[in-house]
């Protein structure tokens, strides 16, 4: 940790030290101050404007500042780091002007992060976000009443929504578009690839799954930034990027298009600023902060196993099986069977087993905004209940945060959506247990639980998957 860098703290540790820790309280008062600025619709430091940077209703865009969030692609992490950084500067400046906050808190203040992956008791919202009033009886700026009722009652999210095993697994930031890179697939140009976007796994879970679990404003990219939890959630996602690097992950070349593409924000003095990935990859040096904790968590047996053989062949993955018809997912369990053939391209030349196996959920579409994240299982026996989250068959999640953008042709970002899972270690385990047949597989989708009562998801219509594909590499 470099000297003088501020530290973004874990909200749970703050609250363990002291309920309504001064840092938390300063966040609330800062949010209140930014909300006051909403009266001026042209003030880029207002709470409303800051949320509009992420999204405008109906996916409208107001370049270069508003409706700009980068999703389903390799700009997801750096764009949100820029976004958070300039938001934090604005909020920090606002906090300096609030009399009730003491000098020590003002000097130390950084955006806290919400680490929901640290155990069963961390899967809920911390109390300062679900209490309706502050200790002085005034309305609590951190409370939002339209969240999922179970979340505002302090009930936990489904643990699968906060899982890190898939998020931290990829060894490359960018990989072949049909494989799984940590940061998501490149998008900036259609040359050579089609527009079926593939987000990095961290963008799906925990990112998207937590958005959907909190729901309300958080469930819609156009309004998510209006819920104060949003910023702490994204601080945690940003922290996971550092955790991944701490685990040996390497970022793309800062001189590449990934590093040099410019994004536009405002600083605390309302002056326009540009931000690039290259300018934010060195956090303590360039941005002046670090995270309280970037230790690599234990991601279980499969995570350890992946470490043993992390090499990835350079040839592209090849399809060896897929569903014949589109699949419709509903509010219960869906089992999908498909035939699998043998590799006949580069994956076959090594003879025998593929080095990597990928499961792709392709052509995902939905009506409206489905309030659901699906857990995906491979070869789950009929007598296993998906609600027990049987880890031996668990592939990962398909979250649908931002699905409304898919298939729209009114902006230049028109795209489809694909989610890909690296299931090499899962297949190896199934094979050892006798649960693998190289000629056919069954893929099971099952909605995650919402709260203790296991509320059913609310679906405006069926969720459609164009095809499920199995790829060897």
């Amino acid at each position: 940790m470099s000297n003088g860098a501020r530290v973004r703290r874990d909200i749970w540790k703050l609250e363990d030290e002291q309920a309504w820790h001064p840092i938390t309280r300063a966040y609330a008062l800062g949010v209140r101050e930014l909300t006051r600025r909403n009266d001026d619709p042209d003030d880029p430091t207002s709470w409303a404007w800051q949320a509009q940077i992420h999204g405008l209703p109906d996916f409208a865009q107001d370049p270069p500042y508003r409706g700009q969030c980068q999703h389903f692609c390799f700009f997801f992490l750096p764009w949100h780091r820029c976004y958070l950084h300039w938001f934090e500067r604005i909020l920090r400046a606002a906090i300096q002007g609030i009399d009730e906050i003491d000098a020590e808190t003002k000097a130390a203040w950084s955006l806290p992060y919400w680490n929901y992956s640290g155990g069963a008791d961390r899967l809920r919202l911390p109390d300062p976000f679900i209490e309706e009033t502050l200790d002085d009886g005034t309305a609590n700026p951190l409370f939002v009443d339209v969240r999922r009722p179970s979340i505002n009652r302090g009930e936990p999210m489904d643990a699968l929504a906060a899982g890190l095993a898939e998020a931290l697994a990829p060894r490359r930031y960018v990989d072949d578009p049909l494989a799984v890179g940590f940061g998501g697939a490149p998008v900036s140009n259609h040359w050579g690839d089609n527009a079926n976007r593939t987000p990095g796994p961290v963008e799906g879970t925990p990112h998207g799954a937590v958005h959907v679990a909190v729901a309300g404003l958080m469930g819609d990219p156009a309004f998510a930034g209006l819920d104060p939890v949003f910023w702490m959630h994204h601080a945690n996602i940003d922290r996971l990027w550092e955790v991944w690097r701490n685990d040996g992950g390497e970022n793309p070349d800062p001189g590449s298009e990934w590093g040099t593409t410019e994004f536009h924000f405002h600083d605390e003095n309302r002056n326009p600023v540009t931000c690039t990935a290259a300018a934010v990859v060195d956090m303590p040096g360039e941005l002046g902060y670090t995270y309280e904790d970037t230790d690599v968590p234990d991601t279980g047996r499969r995570g350890r196993r992946r470490r043993v053989k992390p090499d990835i062949p350079d040839n592209p993955p090849e399809l060896v099986g897929a569903t014949e018809e589109p699949v419709e997912l509903g509010s219960g369990r869906s089992d999908v069977e498909m035939d699998v053939g043998r590799a006949t391209g580069p994956a076959a030349r090594r003879g025998g087993d593929p080095e990597r196996v990928y499961l792709a959920v392709e052509g995902i579409e939905a009506v409206g905004r489905p309030d659901v994240t699906y857990a995906v299982y491979l070869n789950l026996p009929d007598d296993e209940d998906p609600d027990d989250a049987p880890e031996a068959f668990y592939v990962g999640n398909v979250d649908l945060f931002g699905i409304e953008a898919v298939g729209r042709v009114d902006t230049d970002a028109a795209h489809g959506l694909r989610r890909t899972f690296d299931i090499t270690e899962l297949v190896a385990e199934l094979r050892e247990e006798g649960g693998w047949d190289a000629k056919a597989i069954t893929v099971t989708f099952s909605p995650l639980k919402h709260g203790y009562d296991r509320e059913e998801p609310d679906l405006p219509g069926p969720v459609k998957v164009g095809r499920i594909g199995l790829y060897y590499r």
Partner: protein
């Protein structure tokens, strides 16, 4: 060398189609570049079998102009097909796509035949219309919908049919996006190499651009310029 070629072929499922587009350009440019003899041969062919030569000329032009911009889409479908079906996927998709443009040409030439003569100002008028079309919302919605590709079943006749249907759907989007430009090409004919190259550059650029609608004003200006130049004096 052989290994490098092998690798390229593995990476580029659409390489064959790119070669076809390149050959189409060579053939299209031959009468203009090949000197008196080639030109005479070409004129002879048109005189001897006007309909066949006209149809062949139109398809040749459609392939040269429209294939390059469609290669990424073909590639996108090919890399998600079974390894043994990659070439077939590219051929079916692009074949159906060129078929849409062939049908457009047939309809346009039939309309011309019914109308009899062509007024000299029709070409500049259609180009002016095309320039205006570049500025409409409908045009860019169609360009963007080209990038939305369906998923295809893995094997058999079903895969063939779905692949051809994807090519036709892609063709329809592309037709919506480019019909006035290609109507101008019907009037100008494939001997107008300059106009062919210009319009091909426009349609290819807008297909491949990451942010296509940014090209609205510049391409409208280019096409309007072509309209001005084509006014007979």
């Amino acid at each position: 060398m052989a290994a490098a070629l092998q690798r390229a072929r593995r990476r580029l499922a659409e390489a064959g189609a790119a070669a076809v587009a390149a050959l189409a350009w060579l053939r299209l440019l031959a009468p203009a570049a090949g000197g008196e003899g080639v030109r005479a041969l070409h004129d002879e062919a048109h005189a001897a079998a006007a309909l066949a030569a006209g149809a062949a000329g139109w398809v040749l032009m459609a392939v040269a102009m429209m294939l390059p911009g469609a290669l990424p889409a073909a590639r996108g479908l090919a890399v998600t097909a079974l390894w043994t079906r990659r070439g077939r996927t590219v051929a079916l998709f692009l074949g159906a796509y060129v078929g849409v443009w062939a049908a457009f040409g047939a309809a346009a030439y039939a309309a011309l035949a019914v109308a009899g003569g062509v007024p000299a100002l029709l070409l500049p008028a259609v180009l002016a219309l095309a320039a205006l079309w570049q500025l409409t919302d409908a045009k860019w919605r169609a360009v963007r919908s080209c990038h939305l590709l369906p998923t295809l079943p893995p094997r058999g006749r079903k895969a063939d049919r779905a692949c051809a249907a994807a090519g036709m759907r892609y063709g329809r989007s592309c037709l919506t996006a480019c019909w006035p430009l290609m109507a101008a090409m019907v009037l100008a004919g494939h001997a107008s190499v300059g106009l062919t190259a210009l319009i091909a550059a426009v349609v290819t650029a807008e297909k491949l651009a990451a942010r296509p609608s940014r090209l609205a004003a510049p391409t409208a200006a280019v096409v309007a310029g072509a309209a001005l130049i084509s006014i007979p004096i």
